[in-house]
Amino acid sequence: MGKAMVSDGLLQSVKTKRQAGILLEEIEIIRKGLFEAGEGAMNSLLKNKVRVETAEIVRETFSKVGVDKKGYLDKVEELIIKMPNVSLILAFEPSEGAVERFYSEISETTGKQVLLDIVYEPQIIGGAVIIFNGRYRDYSFKKIFKLEFERGRNKILNMAKERQANVNIKH
């Protein structure tokens, strides 16, 4: 069972690390369900224990003739585990659409499926910090902000002192 077989199914639904975690839990539940007797038991499990999207893909795959159900689940699990992680530290909590756009941009660049590990960190003000394959790049506003403040430190301090002096004179 190759990657192509599963690429249109469960793997397409996984874009973030959080989603991957949920899917791995579901795979584990379904795998346990394989050993329970009866078609009804599996249907009940897919209906009640996993998300709709996951249930539909699994049901469709399992309905094919001669499919190795356990092998399929194992392969999906293996591919998810092997997916490279891209950490994105953001200053806002992105919408689903935003995540999809980030994912598309990155997967297009890398040419493969990745897992986004999105961390919400408002201290970075804006932009993003990207960590991939041991590389760390800070494209945040915080860095620019720090640099600008450091550069204009004396100017800012002088302004603050002048302002304080004016306030004292008025009083």
């Binding site: 932009g127 494209y139 902000f145």
Partner: protein
């Protein structure tokens, strides 16, 4: 003079003793000779000669004894006379010697008094010189101590001043840092509120593009291939 007299007396006494010893020796020889003659006469069977010789010897012995008695008694008389003379001479000598001793003692005493009378002057001069030295030394020490103390105070003052200055600078830097930190925080919050979701997304997309340009998303193998 007294000493000479004493010597003469001793000399005479010694001569008499020697003479007496000589007589005794002569008497002993004579006795020996008599005995030998007696033996000889006996041997020659001359008893008369022996007796005659014995009488002669007896007489000689008697004479010698008388003479020795006279010498001894003469010597005793001379000695007893001289005892008083000797005593007198000794007394004179003692007197003269004690007079000389007293004179010497007086001279020594006078010299001592003179020396002792000079001692205070010497001591005074020496003490004055020493006092001058001591005063100079103490003054120098006081000046040195004063300079040292001044230098120490100056050093301590400079150190304290430097520490105060350092502390002041540190505090000023802390204040500056606090001001910057507060301004940063305020600015950050203001700016963060000013950025909309769309703008955030655009900023992230821009960051991803930059990362792409900087080959952040390339795998190691891909990097090797490109190289």
């Amino acid at each position: 003079m007294d000493t000479a007299l004493l010597y003469i007396t001793v000399l005479v006494a010694s001569a008499l003793v020697l003479l007496l010893i000589g007589l005794v020796v002569a008497y002993l020889r004579l006795v020996g000779k008599t005995m030998s003659l007696k033996e000889e006469r006996k041997r020659e069977s001359g008893l008369a000669t022996i007796e005659q010789a014995q009488a002669k010897a007896q007489k000689m012995i008697e004479d010698a004894r008388v003479q020795a008695q006279q010498v001894i008694s003469g010597a005793q008389i001379f000695s007893s006379n001289q005892v008083t003379v000797l005593e007198k001479e000794i007394q004179n000598a003692n007197r003269v010697n004690s007079a000389k001793f007293e004179e010497s003692l007086r001279l020594v005493q006078n010299e001592s008094i003179k020396m002792l009378s000079n001692v205070p002057k010497d001591v005074s001069a020496t003490l004055s010189a020493q006092l001058v030295n001591i005063r100079a030394t103490i003054q120098a020490e006081i000046e040195k101590a004063s300079k040292d103390a001044k230098a120490q105070v100056d050093d301590a003052y400079k150190r304290a001043e430097a520490e105060v200055q350092n502390y002041k600078l540190q505090r000023l830097k802390q204040i500056d840092d606090s001001i910057i930190s507060i301004l940063e925080e305020v600015s950050r919050k203001v700016l963060a509120k000013q950025i909309s979701h769309d703008e955030h997304e655009k900023l992230v997309m821009k960051a991803l593009e930059e990362a792409k340009e900087q080959h952040v998303f390339f795998e190691e193998q891909e990097e090797e291939k490109t190289v």
